[in-house]
Structures are given as structure tokens and as C-alpha cells.
């Protein structure tokens, strides 16, 4: 990139999570944007602080000690623009996931059409559906009103009607919403997003405009029965999320002022970045970003020409853990643990961690519980998200994870750079990637910040991505295969840049690695046995081999088959999990 395209502005990016707030500085070094450093502090939305800007200032102060220059003035205000003495920054962007999940009511005409679209739209931000109103709803209008009053939703999303199509039925469904809003105290009225028949815009505004905290209109998510277009509504929903947070959480308005309105929901910003990567670098496979944080599990996937963003607050590793057993069982969680953990200990952990989301595992047993929970939560998130992927994407079997390259992992449990093997095994167990994929750990959680920075500076994300700010774990080779334990399923030869070779025979049920340093590209030639499939067809492999990139763990061969089946015998299963941990250098 020629230096002339870089205007030299420094950019501070802040992410406010449910547990942690992170301040990251990007600046120009030798004509290219670089990730400079980050500062971390506990988030402060909760009492006794009740002001997220406190945590942001603490994180910036920690960043200041790393970079050795001031970004805050003596009154703890942000110094902007940057000063001749080197203090300050030129711009700020913010992402946030902090706060209680938004209680949401979805309204649509038909279950398989507009309501489905409304549901998918809702899962693109941090929401929980508390009620659904549709044409099939047999409740009386007053029962709908009472339900709305009982739930006190933060948000109502209305879809329905193709453009120029039905309007009378939608109007009928708006009435209970208008009446319920009218009966609510002004400060409790929900925000309303209308993403249905565009002919209804004026009517929606006149019927409920004055009765909601704010009315937002976006293009129809179902302009015709056959077409779904969620992007514009997702964008609007991202803005509504920030507007609601400004009302709910002190300090967001100050950050809005400092950033000039450049605030986005964290997962939305990640999704934007994944879409960008798919456009810039995407091949026939999709690009996947998974984030497991205190607020939610987020899965952002981009394929050629389309993308999916799914946020699951119910699988977040913070305050929502108390309710995790509504979605899974203790046995399903504990099957992932290498240690013998009792159900009581798991229950105690879930409640204690939901009381104190910022706390971390200090003992081996606590870590085993926390990682077992993380695995099951991410596994459930991926299984749910997979159902939402388009049907015309590259995949080996419908019941397996589609082909992705690269896979980017972030969030505390996944991206601890000091233990890449631990994060990788968690990812392999829960996401169960298939085929050949580069795996990247976003150890500084930069992806959403880059997605947010793109709105202020579109060169910065590209240059930072290419600068090695992310940790490449290596290339995962995971054939889809079912075979007998220890049966050979693949013979591989890795040819290094200097021409030397290493060979490996992969046995079913094992995890093995071949070293390939970060930054080096090797050529992998392989022969597949027992009908194993890496995306080229059962037993088939390209004659010329495939290029693979190196990383902290080199080339990782996952011969455990897909879907991954754990032994039913607990003792044997725990031994096997320990073996897999050792294979990836995680003890």
C-alpha cells in the first residue's frame, strides 16, 4: 500500500464487553497502519460504578502505561486530536456488547415467511424473544396487550407483507402494540423497528409513532415471498441497539460524543469485518468468525455474496450461565471435561460465575469446568447457526459444518495466546471444522474493532489484518470419515519451502501435528483412505497437493472423524481427552 494513501491519523478503538473493557491503539508505523498495544480493565456497567465510561478510562490508562504517552487529560477526558507533543488520538470508535439482553417481541404475518425472517433478524443482535404475534395467533387482542404489558419489551420488530402486498392484516396486528405502548409509562415504551411492506410506512408512523420510544423504518426483509434481504434491517437494528443502550447504561452517551457517533454492537462489527474479508479474500469456501464472550456466543459466517450473523446471549459465559441448563444437560457439558467433575460442582460453578462474570478460573478443576461449559455452549451455538446457513454453500454433508477457510476465533476462552493448543482444541471440539482450514486466534479481540474502524478509515483494517496482528495457529486438516479406532485414514507428506519433507500417517481417533513455522507456506500432498473426504470428494485429493500456511502449532491433523463421537465410558473418554490435549501441547 503506498504511504500516500495513509493519512497518518491514529485511531483508538474501545470494546466494552460484559466482563472486560479493552482499549486498542492503531497508528501508522513506516507508512502502514499497525496494531500498537492494548489496555484492559474490568467493565463498569454494573454497580457500584454504573457507568461504562469508567471502565473505558481505566482501560485507556492501562494502555497509556504500555505506550508511554497520554491519551487522557488531567480531568480524564479524551485528548483529541493528537497533539504535537505526541499525546492524544485523532479518532475513537467503540463496540459494545455489555448490558442485559434486549427483551424483544417479533410480529409477522406468516410463520414460515415473515416471522422466520424476523427471527433471523433478531438473532443478529443481543436479544431474547419474549413474545411472538402473528396471523396464526389465536389470542384475543386484549390478551396480546396484557402479554406485552407483562413482558415490558425493549424492542418490537414488525415484519410482514411483501412490498405493495397485504396491509390490512398488518394494520390489525399493529393495534395491540400501539395500545400496549400507550398504557406503558413513557420511559418504559419499546423501540419499534418496522421492516415489512414499505407501503405501510406512513401508517406505522401514525399508528405507533407517538406511542413508542422511537420508530425506525428499514427496507422490507421480505420484499417478495421468495426473497429475503436482512442486511439493511440488521444495520438499522445495530443503531437501535446502541440507542437503547444509551438510555439504559450511563456513559454510552459520553462515548458516543467522543467517537462522533461511531458506536456499533460488537458482534455486528465482527460480522461486517467477516463480510469484508469474504469480499476481499474469499474463495469457494466460507469465512467463519466465532466469538465466545461473557455476553454471548456469536457466529458470523460469510459466503460468496451472502452472510449470516447469529448472536446467542443464552450461551454467553457471564450472567446468563445461570440459565444454561435450560438448553442442555449437565451430562452433555461434563462429557467434555478431562477431569471427573460432579454435577453439584458444575451447578455451583454456573451460579457462582453468573453472580461474578468477571472472575476467572484459578485452579485446574475450575478451568476444566469452565472449558467444558465453553465447549458445549459453542457447540450448541454452531449447531443452531448451521441451520441458518444458505443451502448452496460448499459442504461435504448436510449434517456437518460447511467448509470454511479461514476460521477466526476470539473471546477469552478461545484466544488466550499463551495456550494456543487449548483454544484450538476447544474450537475443534465445538465447531468441528471439516476439510482444510487456516485457524487464526484473535488474541486481542481486534476483529470487531477493525469492523468498527472501517467506518472511519477503510485502509486501516486491511493493513492491520496483513500486519500479523492475529496469531495464526496453523492449518487444520480434518477429514470427514467414519472408521475403526486406530485405522489409518490418511497418508500425508508436507513439503517445506527448503524442499525437505515430513511424512505422517493419520489414524482414526487421533490428533497429530507436523511443525510448520508461522509465516511459512508448505505443500501438503495426501492420500485419503476409508472414503475420507477433505472437500474434494471421498478418497480424492488434488494431484498437485495443496498449499498450507504455518502457525504456532504448524499443520494439525484431526483424525477424530465428523461428527465427533466421544466414548460413552467416562474413564476412557477422559483419558482420550487428556491425550488430545497433550497432542496439542496443552497440559
Amino acid at each position: 500500500m503506498p504511504a500516500s494513501l495513509v493519512d497518518g491519523n491514529s485511531l483508538l478503538a474501545v470494546d466494552i464487553g460484559g466482563a472486560t473493557t479493552r482499549a486498542v491503539l492503531f497508528d501508522v508505523v513506516e507508512g502502514q497502519y499497525r496494531f500498537i498495544a492494548s489496555g484492559i480493565a474490568p467493565s463498569t456497567a454494573e454497580a457500584p460504578f454504573k457507568d461504562v465510561s469508567e471502565g473505558v478510562k481505566n482501560a485507556i490508562e492501562n494502555l497509556q502505561t504500555v505506550i508511554g504517552k497520554s491519551l487522557l487529560d488531567s480531568g480524564r477526558g479524551l485528548i483529541t486530536p493528537s497533539q504535537p507533543n505526541g499525546s492524544g488520538v485523532d479518532a475513537l470508535v467503540v463496540t459494545l456488547s455489555v448490558g442485559a439482553t434486549l427483551k424483544t417481541v417479533i410480529v409477522g404475518l406468516l410463520k414460515d415467511v415473515s416471522l422466520d425472517s424476523a427471527q433471523r433478524l433478531t438473532s443478529s443482535t443481543y436479544t431474547r424473544i419474549v413474545d411472538t404475534i402473528s396471523l396464526n395467533d389465536t389470542r384475543k387482542p386484549e390478551q396480546k396487550i396484557d402479554s406485552l404489558l407483562r413482558h415490558q419489551p425493549d424492542l418490537v420488530i414488525i415484519t410482514g407483507g411483501t412490498d405493495g402486498g397485504a396491509s390490512r392484516s398488518i394494520q390489525k396486528m399493529l393495534e395491540p402494540i400501539g395500545l400496549a405502548s400507550f398504557l406503558m409509562p413513557e420511559e418504559k415504551r419499546p423501540a419499534v423497528l418496522f421492516a415489512g411492506n414499505q407501503k405501510m410506512e406512513a401508517e406505522v408512523k401514525s399508528l405507533i409513532g407517538s406511542l413508542s420510544s422511537s420508530v425506525h423504518i428499514s427496507p422490507n426483509v421480505r420484499p417478495s415471498l421468495e426473497t429475503e434481504d436482512l442486511d439493511p434491517a440488521e444495520r438499522e437494528l445495530a443503531h437501535i441497539f446502541v440507542e437503547i443502550r444509551k438510555r439504559q447504561i450511563k456513559g454510552v452517551d459520553l462515548l458516543n460524543l467522543w467517537s462522533g457517533g461511531h458506536i456499533l454492537p460488537t458482534a455486528y462489527a465482527s460480522g461486517r469485518m467477516v463480510r469484508f474479508l469474504a469480499k476481499a479474500y474469499g474463495g469457494s469456501k466460507g469465512i467463519l468468525s466465532v466469538d465466545l464472550g461473557a455476553s454471548a456466543a456469536s457466529i458470523a459466517a460469510a459466503f460468496k455474496g451472502t452472510s449470516r450473523l447469529n448472536i446467542y446471549p443464552q450461551y454467553g459465559q457471564g450472567e446468563n450461565l445461570e440459565h444454561l441448563l435450560k438448553y442442555t444437560t449437565a451430562d452433555e457439558i461434563l462429557r467434555w471435561s478431562p477431569l471427573d467433575i460432579s454435577k453439584d460442582a458444575l451447578n455451583d460453578y454456573l451460579y457462582q460465575k453468573s453472580l461474578y462474570p468477571s472472575t476467572i478460573a484459578a485452579t485446574k478443576e475450575d478451568l476444566a469446568i469452565s472449558q467444558a461449559i465453553a465447549r458445549q455452549a459453542l457447540y450448541l451455538a454452531m449447531q443452531t447457526a448451521r441451520k441458518n446457513f444458505p443451502s448452496d454453500i460448499a459442504q461435504i454433508k448436510l449434517n456437518l459444518t460447511p467448509l470454511f477457510d479461514p476460521i477466526i476465533a476470539s473471546g477469552g476462552a478461545l484466544s488466550d495466546a499463551s495456550r494456543p493448543g487449548s483454544g484450538l482444541l476447544l474450537l475443534l471440539d465445538s465447531i468441528q471444522p471439516v476439510g482444510i482450514s487456516t485457524v487464526i486466534l484473535d488474541q486481542n479481540n481486534l476483529l470487531p474493532l477493525l469492523g468498527s474502524a472501517a467506518s472511519r478509515n477503510n485502509i486501516l483494517p486491511v493493513q492491520v489484518m496483513e500486519s500479523g496482528a492475529f496469531l495464526s495457529v496453523g492449518t487444520v486438516v480434518a477429514p470427514a470419515v467414519i472408521a475403526a479406532q486406530n485405522a489409518p485414514i490418511m497418508r500425508a507428506t508436507l513439503t517445506y519451502e527448503n524442499g525437505s519433507e515430513t511424512k505422517l500417517e493419520l489414524k482414526y481417533g487421533s490428533l497429530q501435528t507436523l511443525p510448520l513455522p508461522n509465516g511459512e507456506v508448505g505443500k501438503l500432498s495426501f492420500q485419503l483412505l476409508k472414503g475420507a473426504d477433505l472437500g474434494y470428494g471421498p478418497g480424492r485429493a488434488p494431484k498437485e497437493g495443496v498449499p498450507v500456511t504455518g502457525g504456532a502449532l504448524g499443520v494439525i491433523f484431526d483424525g477424530r472423524g465428523r461428527p465427533l463421537n466421544l466414548p460413552a465410558d467416562a474413564a476412557r473418554r477422559r483419558e482420550l481427552i487428556k491425550k488430545w490435549q497433550w497432542a496439542l501441547g496443552d497440559e
Partner: protein, 351 residues
């Protein structure tokens, strides 16, 4: 690092902002003395409505129906009251099916509120109203001993505190409760079975203060008619020594048990207050403090979950924990004299 403070303190000034969930009527004035269970504000929460569609019933247009409606917003109507009548010799009359209050009229429709729940806001602490928040609530100040908990079942009571614990790790069993404890607030041990909860209800007890409760009993504990404050956590945790000392030495005194749910955003916590006579207002305890050597802290996660200790040394940079994670940490000397290393995020100041 700044950490939140979990209050376990012998004498302090307690200031609590008490706010209704929705706007309502304030029932106290500034300077008024209140008891902990006194209602200081109330509001009406609509629960059930009936929608009467006059236009549809009379099969006329909404505009025509609107002209026939004879009730106004705010009017209280008895069941059977006629609210509209069609035109003609044998015109249909529309009557109210249930008693209710008219809350909206328009477009030929009438919305009646037929049932409402009364929300009562209690003072929560025995003290003086130092500020009124019109239509919303008040700020009440009190002085006394304060023990905060981590879980409560949203009830409040006043009563004499009776100690049933011989040690911080006692378990409360049905056999420890007899009729002589009726009307008391019981300082019991860990709750591990439903019989103990039911026995306290059968007495009936005025309240229960326990160190911990099995997670499986949470749903039942919510249903109990008396307030329950859990001081240390869920599972099988002994009571922290500071709370144990303070509560056992205040046995037989009148106590307020405010088992308000923990709300991480507002800072509301379940708490036990023992009102004490004072000659001058004691200083309030801070809600947050910077972690430093000498501070008393409580462990929020294993090892030594729930134990109290004192910060012996703040460790520089990042420390590798036994779990393998890296984090800023401190050396903590526990009451048992054992020294452990704990990440700072796992500590809560006690005081």
C-alpha cells in the same frame, strides 16, 4: 485495580435509594422516620384488560360507533353498565362484561382495565427519609450493623434474631427448629434439603439467614413465605467469618432482613441490618475500593471459595495461575494462615 466492596460492617451509615419500577404515589415526606417494612410509595401495575369493539358488535363503521360510546377515559364502570346503544326500535345495547376502568376510547373501541396489581415499595431500612423522589420513591438513611448477602427471595421482615449455628459450616436441619422459634429471624446453617425450608415455613419463621443453599432448592426458596438471605453463595459454602461473628454476636437483637434480589446493574443486594442507637452519624462504607496490601478480601472463586483473607502482597505484572491462565494477582493470607495466590478479578473487598 478497583474492586467492589461487600459490606460486612459493625456500625455504618446505610443510605438506600428506593425506587418504584414505574411511576406512582409517594407516601412519605422528607425527614419522616420509617420502619423497614413501611410502604413508602405505591403504584398500580395493569394486569388484565378487556377490549370492547362497539363497531364490530353493532356492525357499523368505527366513526359511527364512536358517536354512540357513552363512557370516558378514567371512568370506573360496574359489570353490566351500558356503554353504547345502537339506533332503532330494537337496538342492541353494549354492556361491560366485567367491572373495570376505562383506559382508552377510540375508533369505536373501548379498552377496560379489569385487573391491576398494586406495587408497594417498602422502606427496606429502618431510618429517616433524607430525600424524596416525587412519583418514584425516596432515599432512606439508617445506622447499624450491616451484612450483605449474594442471594435473596425478594421479601422483607423484621424480627428478633435467633442463632441456631454453632460453627460457620453448620447445616440447618429440620430437627433444629421447634415451636419456640416461631416469629423469629433464624440464623441457620447451610441449606441442603427442602425439609429445612419447609420446617421454617411451618413454624412460621420471620426470616432465614444462611451461608449457602443448594442450587436445586432455589426455586422452592423463592416460594417460601418468609425472606431468605444467603450470605456467601450457592452450593455448600460455610458462612464467611466476618458475617458469622457479626451476626452471632447480635443474636436476640431486632434485625431487619431485606431479601431483595441481587441486581448487578442497580447494586441492590440482599442484606441484614441490625439497627443500633447512635449519638452521631457514623461514616458510610465505600462501595468500591482500590485493592491494596492490608485490605480484607473475600475469595469469589476456588481455591478457598468464600474464605476471607488479607492482601499480603500485590504481585507485579501478570502471574501464571495454577490453571495456567495469566492474570494480575495478589498473595492472600487466609484466616487459616495459609497463603494463596489469587487473580485480582476474583477478589471482593469486605468491610
Amino acid at each position: 485495580m478497583i474492586a467492589p466492596v461487600h459490606h460486612v460492617v459493625g456500625l455504618t451509615s446505610i443510605v438506600r435509594e428506593r425506587i418504584l419500577p414505574i411511576s406512582g404515589n409517594l407516601l412519605v415526606r422528607q425527614g419522616q422516620k420509617v420502619s423497614a417494612t413501611e410502604v413508602i410509595a405505591e403504584a398500580k401495575l395493569p394486569r388484565e384488560h378487556t377490549l370492547i369493539d362497539v363497531a364490530r358488535a353493532l356492525q357499523i363503521s368505527p366513526t359511527a360507533a364512536e358517536r354512540l360510546v357513552r363512557c370516558k377515559v378514567g371512568e370506573r364502570l360496574a359489570a353490566g353498565t351500558e356503554i353504547a346503544k345502537g339506533k332503532g326500535l330494537f337496538a342492541n345495547a353494549i354492556k361491560v362484561p366485567r367491572e373495570g376502568t376505562v383506559v382508552a376510547v377510540g375508533g369505536g373501541q373501548i379498552l377496560l382495565e379489569t385487573s391491576a396489581a398494586k406495587v408497594e415499595l417498602k422502606a427496606g431500612v429502618p431510618g429517616t427519609v433524607i430525600e424524596v423522589l416525587p412519583g418514584r420513591g425516596a432515599v432512606v438513611q439508617a445506622a447499624g450493623s450491616l451484612v450483605q448477602g449474594v442471594w435473596g427471595n425478594d421479601k422483607i421482615e423484621i424480627g428478633a434474631l435467633v442463632n441456631l449455628m454453632n460453627a460457620p459450616d453448620d447445616t440447618l436441619t429440620e430437627s433444629k427448629m421447634d415451636v419456640s422459634l416461631r416469629g423469629s429471624i433464624l440464623l441457620g446453617g447451610m441449606i441442603q434439603n427442602k425439609e429445612a425450608l419447609r420446617a421454617a415455613a411451618d413454624l412460621p419463621a420471620r426470616g432465614l439467614i444462611v451461608p449457602s443453599i443448594a442450587p436445586a432448592l432455589i426455586a422452592l426458596a423463592r416460594e417460601m413465605p418468609y425472606p431468605i438471605v444467603v450470605t456467601d453463595g450457592l452450593g455448600a459454602l460455610p458462612m464467611n467469618s466476618a458475617a458469622y461473628r457479626l451476626l452471632t454476636t447480635n443474636a436476640k437483637r431486632e434485625a431487619v432482613i431485606n431479601a431483595e434480589s441481587y441486581n448487578r446493574y442497580t447494586g441492590a443486594k440482599p442484606e441484614v441490618i441490625i439497627p443500633l442507637p447512635i449519638s452521631s452519624e457514623p461514616p458510610p462504607s465505600p462501595d468500591a475500593q482500590t485493592l491494596a496490601v492490608g485490605l480484607q478480601v473475600r475469595m469469589l472463586r476456588p481455591p478457598a471459595l468464600g474464605a476471607l483473607g488479607v492482601i499480603e502482597k500485590m504481585l507485579p505484572g501478570l502471574t501464571v495461575l495454577p490453571s495456567g491462565l495469566h492474570a494480575p494477582a495478589a498473595e492472600i493470607k487466609l484466616e487459616s494462615n495459609e497463603i494463596i495466590i489469587a487473580p485480582l478479578v476474583n477478589l471482593e473487598v469486605v468491610g
